[in-house]
């Protein structure tokens, strides 16, 4: 079976949030409250248990490629549709003690809602801060990569709804090729700070949902060097064993002396 992937290209995103709406419609997610945040046009703020697509709105005082805004200061307004990255080495999957989080045959990371018991381990182990526990429901939820759609031969709701094809859905290798081509094209057109964000070269080991971003990843709330928490596992167990040994030795000594 092929490896499915998302390639999200903010340079052609218009910030319409159709992906957010389509995601909620297809997956029947509850609303997050209707509040104005005042953070540009972003009233969603972040991904969560009932928000599996989130469009970030960045206002930056620098030019977009060679565009002229006609204002005194250069200005660019960037929209980026964030989503679960479906990591190569997923922190949530490795932390899940019930085996509710699994790697599907499509390469995506899927939370089985009928198995999850809401322990919350995955929430702290996601290096991207994606998965969250629904406090009312008690279980953890995140993007399913529209697993049900894909099994039926359809494409995920967000990619289907995207009017500018900013969200590409397809096979991982092909999309990576496409992203590299797009990056080259943008560089030629003067987008010098464009880069591909896919967490390659870290312990995350690449992602199945990657992005072409302008500027620093921090500005998009993306970690510049994400690490799977299990890289600290050896140190954690070593210190636990050492402290247990010390406890034994000290107590034994106390009785002997």
């Amino acid at each position: 079976m092929k490896t499915a992937a998302f390639f999200t290209d903010p340079t052609i995103c218009i910030g319409c949030k159709a992906c957010e709406v389509a995601c909620k419609e297809w997956n029947q997610l509850p609303d997050d409250g209707l509040e104005w945040s005042g953070l540009s046009y972003d009233n969603t703020r972040r991904l969560g248990a009932s928000t599996w697509r989130h469009v970030s709105f960045l206002e930056q005082k620098q030019p977009l490629g060679q565009q002229s805004t006609g204002t005194q200061e250069p200005f660019r307004w960037i929209f980026m549709s964030d989503v679960c990255k479906h990591c190569g080495n997923a922190g949530c999957l490795e932390a899940c003690p019930t085996g509710a989080i699994v790697r599907t045959e499509l390469g995506s990371v899927f939370v089985q809602p009928d198995v999850c018991n809401g322990c919350g381990n995955c929430v702290v182990c996601c290096p991207f801060g994606v998965i969250d526990k629904d406090q009312q429901d008690g279980r953890a939820f995140k993007c399913t990569f529209c697993y049900d759609c894909q099994l039926a031969g359809m494409i995920p709701a967000c990619a289907k709804a995207c009017p500018t094809q900013s969200i590409h859905f397809g096979e991982l290798d092909e999309l990576q090729e496409q992203a590299r081509g797009r990056l080259e094209e943008l560089r030629l057109r003067g987008y010098q700070d464009a880069r591909i964000y896919d967490a390659h070269g870290t312990s995350v080991g690449g992602t199945h949902a990657f992005f072409l971003i302008l500027g620093e990843p921090e500005a998009y709330n993306l970690p510049p060097a994400p690490e799977v928490p299990t890289v600290h596992l050896r140190a954690a167990w070593t210190s636990a064993l050492v402290s247990a040994g010390v406890l034994f030795a000290v107590v034994c000594l106390a009785f002997v002396i």
């Binding site: 970030s56 322990c119 996601c126 620093e216 406890l247 009785f255």
Partner: protein, 137 residues
């Protein structure tokens, strides 16, 4: 009330010059309250935390304490029993260890979002437990 001093005044002057020149301030500095001062160029997305805060409830830190105390008491009781120095101490320590050992799983089950599914923890066995609260489960 804070009196102006020569160090702060010099730093303020440097900051103002830097702000006038570049429109932003890279380094830290004196931030006088209410002054019309350009904000430092902070990375991040509107100050929204990148990572999710833990969803564990008060039962989990209590579990760490009870579990640690029970474990330490078990060790104390074991040695007191082996060396036969103090039978009362051995009995008390082992009772505390037993009580703590019984309380620990209850605390962890109470923390779950779906407590009725606590047995699902035993569905799979991962050779290296991946998260701090898992060994207890």
């Amino acid at each position: 009330m804070r009196q102006p001093d020569i160090v702060s005044e010099t730093r303020l002057k440097a900051l103002r010059e830097e702000a006038a020149r570049t429109g932003e301030i890279k380094g830290g500095g004196v931030v006088p309250g209410g002054a019309p001062f350009p904000r430092p160029n902070t990375p991040g997305y509107y100050g929204i935390p990148l990572l999710k805060e833990p969803v564990w409830t008060w039962q989990v830190p209590l579990y760490f304490f009870v579990g640690g105390a029970a474990g330490a008491c078990a060790v104390i009781g074991f040695f007191a029993h082996v060396f036969e120095s103090d039978p009362a101490l051995a009995r008390a320590a082992l009772w505390i260890a037993l009580g703590g050992g019984l309380l620990c799983p209850l605390l962890l089950v109470a923390d779950l979002g779906r407590p009725s599914r606590f047995l699902y923890m035993l569905r799979v066995f991962k050779l290296a437990p991946r998260c701090p609260s898992e060994p207890g489960r």
